[in-house]
């Protein structure tokens, strides 16, 4: 059978399903190309741009003295908590907004309004109401994740095929059941998009959140480094954030693939 497959005429000229091995190779190639461009830029005499070597050296130092691990753990805890709370809340709120015109009319102005407000601006209020402990930091991250993903979840609810909802209703499903058993699975692609964007927003807000009297964390470390104009440390922070974000995003995608296997996909 396998042998025959080799000789089969290529009925479809493009194969869009990536072969996993090839994907990894291309991923790596892309990263190497990126590193090359970076090295090129930093060598070409653009002042103030640190090269990869220096960054690696600094990274090694920060790992060696334990700072990086502490920072990563602190930031990860904040981002993870805020992200999970934000996206989990976004699902029912998105549902309420998509389902009940009243809820939508009441909630939407606020969602839209706060979505455009920079997280930095929320900080004073968060401090006033929540002090300077972990709560306001997590809250700022939570808010960013929530506000990004609620838009997507809401659209997903609006977008659910009406015939499926009807099918559930004639089987006697209550609104709650329809939400849990029809709307959530049917809008999974939107929810995942929301979560992925929410994840980006959560990490992107980390620096702002750690302005609030953080004593450790990647964002805090980067601010400190900025005061000292310590570019290598800033880059170590950026790369750590990027890599952690990437890993969490991959995990989300894995989850998605398990959840949306039912879809017809290219």
């Amino acid at each position: 059978m396998t042998a025959a497959t080799v000789t089969e005429p290529s009925a479809s000229p493009r194969r869009r399903r990536p072969r996993p091995g090839r994907t990894v190779v291309l991923n790596v190639a892309a990263v190497i190309a990126g590193l090359a461009v970076w090295t090129g830029l930093s060598v070409s005499g653009i002042t103030g741009l640190t090269g990869p070597v220096e960054v690696v050296r600094r990274g090694a130092e920060l790992i060696a003295d334990g700072t990086l691990v502490t920072d990563v753990l602190a930031s990860l805890r904040r981002v993870f908590t805020g992200f999970v709370l934000g996206t989990v809340l976004a699902i029912p709120v998105g549902f309420l907004m998509g389902w009940y015109a009243t809820a939508r009319a009441l909630i939407e102005p606020y969602v839209q309004f706060f979505r455009t407000i920079p997280p930095l601006a929320i900080i004073p209020l968060a401090i006033l109401l929540m002090g300077i402990g972990e709560t306001p930091k997590v809250f700022v991250i939570f808010l960013a994740a929530f506000l990004s993903s609620v838009v997507s979840t809401f659209q997903g609810v609006l977008d659910v095929d009406r015939t499926l909802i009807n099918a559930a209703r004639v089987l006697g499903a209550s609104d709650r059941t329809i939400f849990m058993k029809v709307v959530v699975p049917a809008s999974t692609p939107f929810i995942i998009v929301g979560m992925r964007i929410g994840l980006g927003a959560a990490w992107g807000t980390l620096v702002a959140a750690e302005l609030i009297a953080a004593q450790e964390g990647l964002g805090y470390r980067m601010q400190q480094a900025q005061l000292y104009y310590d570019l290598p440390t800033i880059f170590v922070g950026l790369i750590s954030i990027g890599v952690l974000g990437l890993v969490m995003d991959r995990l989300l995608l894995l989850a998605e693939r398990r959840l949306t296997g039912w879809q017809e996909r290219r």
């Binding site: 015939t163 009807n166 099918a167 004639v170 999974t188 879809q263």
Partner: protein, 256 residues
């Protein structure tokens, strides 16, 4: 006796560019309890719309729709619906699709499982019980939708061309099963089809609809004995009624 389902002077129009489109024009129809009514008519004459109103999914424009004498207030598990477009939940396997309604009835898991198995077997999908809808052929999807409606065993069955995508043999089997269940357990059935033979074979009464605007053209009684068999199908009386239905569908005088 109060009719099971009753359409009273029901009209429905849809907004269209350049004025409303009158999809149903003053429909009056009573379906008695335990009656088997089939609905035939040209494509686009409003059959699906009529059924959707009985299901409580579409509001009538004007007029009333009564269920057991009371106005229909939304859909409910008392009326099982088989949609023309199947409407399977694509993320659930055949079995889970069929169990969907059963779960809402809070049956004990054993009973639920038994009833789902039974319905799946009835439509011949046992080998595909764990397959997802996307891996089913057209006819298999349709059979899954049938099993889902059968499983909850509703008082009223509203079926929109339920056997349209099936090959002739499967179709005959399912027709006979349906008649069998109906006569044993005496459900009320409203059954849309575009197959005149099927309409006559199954029904107590055939409702013939006309298009432009959608309305009831004639209602033809089918005075054939149950159980309906191959013999009935070949009887001259069957042919006569069949021809009458055919004639009234396809040689309608233009709308008044």
């Amino acid at each position: 006796m109060i009719p099971k389902i009753s359409f009273r002077n029901v009209s429905k129009s849809f907004p269209l560019k350049g004025g409303d489109f009158l999809a149903l024009d003053r429909v009056d129809l009573d379906i008695a309890d335990r009656e088997f009514v089939t609905v035939v008519g040209p494509s686009g004459c409003g059959k699906s719309t009529l059924m959707s109103m009985a299901a409580g999914l579409t509001e009538p424009g004007t007029g009333d729709i009564l269920l057991d004498g009371a106005p229909v207030a939304g859909p409910g598990p008392d009326r099982g619906v088989i949609f023309q477009q199947y409407a399977l939940f694509p993320w659930l396997s055949v079995r889970k699709n069929v169990e969907f309604g059963l779960k809402l009835m809070n049956l004990p898991p054993d009973e639920r499982k038994r009833r789902a198995e039974h319905a799946i077997e009835l439509v011949g999908l046992s080998d595909f019980a764990d397959a997802l809808p996307k891996t089913l052929s057209g006819g298999m999807k349709q059979r899954c939708a049938i099993a889902r409606a059968y499983a909850v065993d509703p008082q009223v069955l509203l079926m929109d061309e339920p056997f349209g995508a099936l090959d002739a043999l499967t179709r005959v089997q399912l027709q006979d099963q349906l008649l069998d269940t109906w006569s044993r357990e005496r459900r009320t059935v409203m059954f849309i089809t575009h197959d005149v033979d099927e309409a006559v074979y199954l029904a107590n009464r055939v409702v013939v609809m006309a298009a432009r605007p959608g309305r009831i053209h004639r209602v033809i009684d089918v005075d054939l004995p149950y159980p309906r068999t191959e013999e009935v199908r070949l009887s001259p009386e069957f042919s006569r009624i069949r021809n009458e239905v055919w004639h009234s569908v396809y040689h309608q005088a233009p709308a008044a």
